[in-house]
């Protein structure tokens, strides 16, 4: 109940377009010139001290990208992006590999403090009741600091920025990078492959259960900087890891492009749990500004009995184009997708998942809750397919949409493809508005309308919230309340 009360308070406090995390930090920035060319890619690669093969990989992707066309099938509408009018590299200037937190720019630490990121090791360690969380903080494009490295190393877990991994574990990176999302996969993934600046790398060796939740907080800070994160997580045989990704960004006038790629690989009996809370700047009340979020996330259940679970809470961004997927290659593997997508104002969300059943006895579960308010458009787009040889494939899909106000739209576009008779697929979808009865019940008990809606919505999405790690669940509930602010009346 405490969390609910907090939600209500927060909803009261904040006006429609007063984005909670809308502040800008003035830090000196080391930037590449605007535009995209082979020179820029060479510049990025050189800045990051990359080996020759990595540069070639990038250039190969860039050449492919030049031949590709921007996809138009999603139900999103935005002015054409001028890819030559963006900066593809920006690094905080005063951080040439900090040795400790003391060396980190205090302005930067203040930003994290405002965001409530438990960056300082001692703070986390001091929290007796708090679960331990390791943070790989990404400030614009460069990993500033990585905490808990030593403790993780003791368990054999590698958790570092991907640029470090390219230098320190080239064999692992070479083996897995692009093996789930190939460079030619889609327009934005290919762009990412060419220009990705940083991201996280996680390797959990055979039989290891990662001793803590791993977490990255993303920040988009510098004006007009495309953020191209690249995350690669590998769980070897029997390993387990839970990874949290949380995002906030300062308020901006111009649209910002974000095209991340996340690749997960689970070998035999491994399990990866990937949770996201995304609340980037959604634009103002007139639909001006906001982040363009074109993300490719895919998990490969490569081994038998492996499991990958995606949980996402999408409340931010002007445009979201995101389909975290599972390739169920190993026999008896399992994929899960739990999603809450909240759109308000002029936001446009086109999100969903793909469950590709290839192995025998594979199963998947999709729970998607879409909430549309204001004049937003909220689309669930998902695919479930069973290959000819994927005997006994099972899927259960439930996608529910809630409409708040009569100017928004909710859409459901599932693709269900069964190519063998032992497949068993169930799909159900509903769309409705908030029940008058429930609302009346709350109002009658003196709960104001906006708070009542937040309460009802939190009930609507409970099934997904439950899948989030504890510390995220609380934040997510707050976010949903904030996102729906101004949706009544």
């Amino acid at each position: 109940m405490a969390a609910v009360q907090e939600t209500i308070d927060q909803v009261r406090q904040i006006d429609v377009d007063q984005y909670k995390y809308g502040f800008e930090t003035v830090i000196e920035v080391d930037k590449a010139p605007k535009g995209l060319s082979e020179e820029i890619i060479r510049f990025i690669s050189a800045k990051k001290d990359e080996p020759e093969w990595m540069l070639e990989w990038r250039l190969d992707a860039y050449r492919r990208w030049l031949t590709m066309e921007e996809p138009t099938w999603a139900r999103v509408d935005y002015p054409k992006i001028d890819f030559n009018d963006l900066y593809y590299y920006a690094a905080p200037k005063n951080t040439p590999g900090p040795k400790s937190l003391d060396e980190v720019d205090p302005e930067l630490l203040k930003v994290y403090e405002k965001l409530g990121i438990p960056l300082k090791e001692q703070e986390i360690l001091a929290g007796v009741d708090k679960p331990r969380v390791a943070v790989d903080a990404v400030f614009d494009s460069v990993s500033v600091v990585t905490t808990f490295k030593k403790e993780l190393a003791k368990a054999g877990v590698i958790f570092m920025s991907i640029s470090e991994a390219v230098r320190e574990h080239p064999d692992l990176v070479k083996k897995y990078l692009g093996s789930v999302v190939p460079t030619s996969d889609n327009y934005y993934a290919t762009l990412n492959s060419a220009v990705f600046t940083d991201g996280s790398f996680v390797f959990v060796p055979k039989g290891v259960r990662c001793p803590m939740e791993l977490s990255t907080y993303f920040r988009i800070n510098e004006k007009n900087t495309g953020q191209f994160e690249r995350t690669l997580i590998i769980a070897e045989e029997g390993a387990y890891v839970s990874y949290l990704e949380g995002c906030t960004a300062p308020q901006r006038d111009e649209n910002q492009l974000h095209a991340a790629v996340v690749e997960l690989v689970a070998l035999d009996d491994a399990e990866i749990k990937y949770s996201t809370v995304q609340n980037w700047y959604p634009g103002d009340a007139q639909g001006k500004g906001g982040i363009y979020n074109f993300v490719t996330k895919r998990g490969d259940c490569r081994g038998h009995r492996s499991k990958i679970s995606w949980t996402q809470v999408e409340t931010g961004s002007a445009i979201t184009w995101k389909y975290p997927s599972c390739i169920l290659r190993g026999d008896d593997s399992r994929g899960e997708f739990y999603s809450i997508a909240v759109s308000n104002g002029h936001q446009q969300i086109d999100s969903g998942t793909k469950m590709i059943h290839l192995g025998k006895n594979t199963s998947s579960r999709i729970i998607s809750k879409g909430i549309a308010a204001g004049v937003s458009q909220n689309t669930y787009r998902g695919q479930v397919s069973a290959h000819r040889k994927a005997t006994n494939a099972r899927n259960f899909t439930q996608c529910d949409s809630l409409l708040i106000g009569d100017r928004c739209g909710a859409h459901t576009v599932p693709y269900i493809e069964a190519k063998n008779s032992s497949a068993q697929f169930e799909h159900e979808a509903t769309t409705s508005k908030i029940s008058e009865d429930q609302l009346f019940y709350c109002l009658q008990r003196g709960i104001p309308e906006e708070a009542a809606i937040a309460l009802i919505v939190n009930g609507f999405v409970k099934e997904v919230i439950q899948e989030l790690p504890m510390e995220f669940a609380v934040e997510a509930q707050k976010l949903i309340g904030i996102s729906l602010e101004g949706s009544v009346g």
Partner: protein, 424 residues
């Protein structure tokens, strides 16, 4: 690189355009109709047949699936199938042309060929949207059909059966039908092959229900094993009108059945039921685009599909609720039984909702027959094959029985059990 592929004509595309040039001299139509036809053919020539890249045809890549077009030729058979129910009044087309003079008590029956010759058919030849390939093909080639008018207030007790009969060759028919305010009627639309050989068939039924009309419309498709059947049922449902639409697909090699329904009057209700029996090496696509465009309308849609052998089935069902169509209640279900390891089914039930005070839902399932049900019957001494047949029969018969009219239910059940006997 895709551009090249788009412009390359397939053998069937070339045959289609050649066939048009061969027939143009004998197709009925005045100047307006001829220029409408030419526009449609030009469109087909420029854009080609749709591929899987066209979202509306994602699962039915007509460019690849349509391999050949048989030459257009005169009717070679005079077989006359009995009407589905004894009492029905028969209206027939043979090889795409009206067969005999027809009159039915209480309704006005006209010739569609006359409409083409007079030019009144020209506006109706326009396509619904750019992906309306069936509209394009039918509009280019249509020769004849019937225009039915049910006067306002008419209560026609006798079922009307439209039989579209054809042998090998081509048949392109169109049936504009209007049901006047408060009229009541039952119409059966049957597509039947009368001789062996490959047929290329297109058909458009253009139906409107004026205020308060109550109509049962039944489509029975029993094409031959080599036939291509491209059919469209366009419906506009007026204020407080009630339409019960029932569709059975039990034949054809390549079938695309489009149901384009505009629920356009307040208080209107649509009850749509479909049974798709798929076997052999066939491809059947049922595509529904249902628009709830005004407030206070209701609809339910239930489809039951059974897929045997190497057949491929497709169901695309889109429910669109317009911005001010508040209080819409629309529910759709699509259930499929896959009866063989080589059978395939793809379902794409879509919701596109712009109004908030609505109740909309869809469900889709794909599965094999439940082992428990099979076991239950076999434990009672029923052999495996028979038990399976019983369960399949029950699965589809359930929705046929909703029709209530006993003679009609019996006739449709007979079609289903005949088909199952041949294929199961």
């Amino acid at each position: 690189m895709n551009m090249q592929a788009q412009n390359r004509q397939t053998a069937a595309e070339t045959a289609l355009l050649d066939s048009y040039n061969a027939q143009i001299g004998e197709l009925p139509g005045n100047g307006a109709v001829i220029s409408a036809r030419d526009r449609l053919v030009d469109d087909l020539k420029t854009n080609g047949l749709p591929t899987r890249r066209v979202e509306a045809w994602h699962y039915t890549d007509l460019k690849t699936l349509l391999r050949s077009i048989p030459a257009s030729g005169p009717a070679s058979s005079v077989r006359n199938p009995a009407p589905l129910v004894d009492a029905a009044a028969l209206i027939k087309t043979r090889q795409g042309e009206a067969d005999g003079n027809v009159s039915v008590d209480g309704i006005v029956v006209g010739s569609y060929a006359d409409m083409l010759r007079e030019g009144t058919a020209a506006p109706g030849l326009s396509v619904i949207d750019k992906d309306d390939t069936i509209g394009k093909i039918n509009g280019s080639f249509v020769r004849d059909g019937y225009v039915l008018e049910f006067p306002a207030g008419a209560e026609i007790g006798q079922p009307i059966e439209i039989q579209a009969l054809h042998g090998a060759g081509q048949a392109h028919t169109r049936f504009p039908v209007s049901f006047g305010a408060g009229s009541k009627a039952t119409v059966i639309e049957r597509h039947i092959q009368t001789t062996d050989g490959q047929a290329f068939v297109s058909s458009v039924s253009d139906i409107s229900l004026e205020d308060g009309a109550e109509v049962t419309w039944i489509v029975v498709q029993e094409q031959g094993a080599d036939d291509t059947h491209l059919a469209q049922v366009r419906v506009r449902v007026g204020n407080n009108a009630k339409l019960r639409l029932f569709v059975i697909n039990a034949g054809g090699k390549l079938v695309r059945q489009e149901l384009r329904i505009d629920v356009a009057g307040e208080g209107a209700d649509l009850q749509l039921r479909g049974v798709n029996l798929l076997g052999g090496d066939t491809h059947t696509d049922v595509t529904l685009v249902l628009g709830h465009n005004v407030p206070n309308t209701t609809s339910t849609e239930i489809f039951r599909n059974v897929v045997f052998d190497r057949a491929r089935g497709v169901f695309q069902g889109m429910i669109k609720v317009a911005l001010d169509a508040q209080k819409t209640d629309a529910r759709m279900a699509c259930n499929t039984l896959l009866m063989s390891d080589d059978a395939e089914f793809a379902a794409k039930p879509e919701l596109e909702i712009f109004a908030d005070d609505v109740q909309c839902g869809h469900g889709a399932t794909v599965a094999d027959i439940d082992d428990n049900h099979l076991y239950y019957l076999m434990a009672r001494g029923i052999p495996h094959n028979k038990a399976r047949a019983m369960l399949v029969n029950a699965f589809v018969a359930e929705i046929v029985e909703e029709l209530e009219d006993e003679a009609l239910v019996e006739a449709l059940e007979a079609i289903i059990s005949n088909w199952l006997e041949k294929h199961a």
